[in-house]
Symmetry: C2
Subunit: 295 residues, 2 copies
């Protein structure tokens, strides 16, 4: 059951696709879409975790910046439904944008549900971006990526590792989840995606086996929700709030690197996969909004 998951999403560092209630839409829009989406997009434990995460970051974000047909979209045959929200950071904030998406897509043996949140910082700061991604391929198993994406070449900048990864105790959160007997390492098929992640990235498959639906739900609602909250708090505290002194040349390399990672992740993740699920028209409309956010 997990095969189609990995072929649909590359678990790219910047993501993708679509579900659930979304914040930031106008009340009218929210009422319309939530009633429509409840019929199609299952209310999974992982979607609740994502909604709570987005709510936590909300105070630092401007209202939604995407049109209604991107806040919710579906394919022509009704087998796939998605949502994408893009929110800019409040003025003078070091948050560039948040990209929040969820997707539900029927496949021959069931469905795939992918939810991801990327909160990207701007060039006022060199601190890592926040990334969370859930790829649920069955009611009892899913892939989880949770990371603060580095913005510098870590081998050349050991001080960056110390500041953002060692001193923050991030590795402990990874260990807490990897200790669960239901997890095993998940390797993105894309070597680029693996390279873009930090040394403390959580990247696992949680597989609760046949009949393990409620076990998965429990793991997601307790252990995983708690790890996500901790990592977000670390990020809000040590990354999102601050600006960084940098030389111009250094900042230029960082901006170039950010841009390269974004471009490559669109290529790996979206342009390869969204059209298969939503057809070329819907996909290109959604991808255009993501490109706009990426600048």
């Amino acid at each position: 059951m997990l095969r189609p998951v990995t072929s649909v999403s590359m678990a790219a560092p910047t993501l993708s696709t679509i579900s659930g209630l979304h914040h930031g839409a106008s009340p009218l829009l929210r009422a319309r879409t939530s009633s429509t989406m409840c019929a199609c997009m299952p209310s999974l434990a992982h979607r609740k975790v994502a909604r709570e995460l987005v709510a936590e970051a909300e105070a630092r974000l401007l209202p939604s910046a995407v049109p209604a047909d991107v806040l919710e979209f579906r394919n022509s045959t009704g087998t796939a439904v998605g949502m994408l929200d893009v929110r800019r950071g409040v003025p003078a904030s070091s948050i560039d944008f948040m990209l929040y998406s969820s997707l539900h897509c029927k496949v021959p043996n069931g469905a795939i549900d992918i939810t991801s949140v990327l909160i990207s910082l701007n060039a006022l700061s060199d601190a890592p971006h926040f990334l969370m991604e859930f790829i649920q391929g069955s009611p009892s198993s899913m892939v989880v990526i949770l990371d603060l994406l580095p913005r510098k070449d870590l081998a050349l900048h050991p001080e960056y590792i110390v500041k953002y990864y060692e001193n923050t105790g991030l590795d402990k959160q990874r260990e807490n989840i990897e200790e669960l007997p239901q997890t095993r390492p998940y390797r993105s098929p894309s070597l680029f995606v693996r390279s873009a992640c930090s040394p403390t990235a959580l990247s696992v498959t949680i597989d609760c086996g046949h009949g393990g639906e409620s076990t998965l739900e429990e793991i997601v609602s307790s252990h995983l929700a708690s790890a996500v909250k901790e990592v977000l708090q670390i990020w809000l505290h040590s990354c999102a709030g601050q600006t960084s002194e940098m030389e111009d040349a250094e900042r230029e390399i960082m901006v170039r690197r950010d841009q390269a990672v974004r471009l490559k992740s669109i290529e790996v993740d979206l342009t390869a996969n969204l059209p298969k699920m939503f057809g070329p028209d819907v996909s290109s409309h959604v991808i255009a909004e993501i490109r706009k956010a990426f600048g």
Copy 2:
């Protein structure tokens, strides 16, 4: 039993310490040291793999460049014995040096045996360095690191990933070993070491459990030996033989990066650990030879 292993070696990207027969010493020296060392340094399957690896690369290397008391050294109480060999590449080659080391150190519950081979390229090429490290903490378990260490920031250079890691099929070798039921992922406690490795790095603990000595020996002599040979062949074919066109600025960054990785790895791995095993005098003598190689 594995605890002391990870505290002694950081499984650093550039390594360290010492055993077995070594190539490149004068026949007189070889005769003397091999008879001495046979008494102290156990003839493990992993040492045979390392010797065969070094023999394979030999045609591209000059004779040994280190003094006799570095080719073999021991601590004052006789509980630890080590060897270090450094060989330069033949003239006009893109090989800078090979650092081959092995160590045997008694600990309260047994012994630790660490063997590592680093073959480092010079600035004529941007191709990855070759690294292999075995850290054997008991007769039935060991840590294995096998990687081609990247010399560029991979997130900024996707073409480098394609050239040296995708097109060479390196990931298959990692998979072959990770598929074995006796392996589990090994995470270096050093986040820096994790960051210096490539996305196709093999980094595992092979644990054959109580009474699993012969199983480990078999895995090392068959699966592991074969993966090491394959990765070396890939490296000799796609990396060691060639030079790379680069702009001066690009080359300068690469040289700076190489230097940073080397310096940091000496700090993480050697200056922290060798003195504990061999005392300050022997250690500083050995470390001086490594620094000389590192330039």
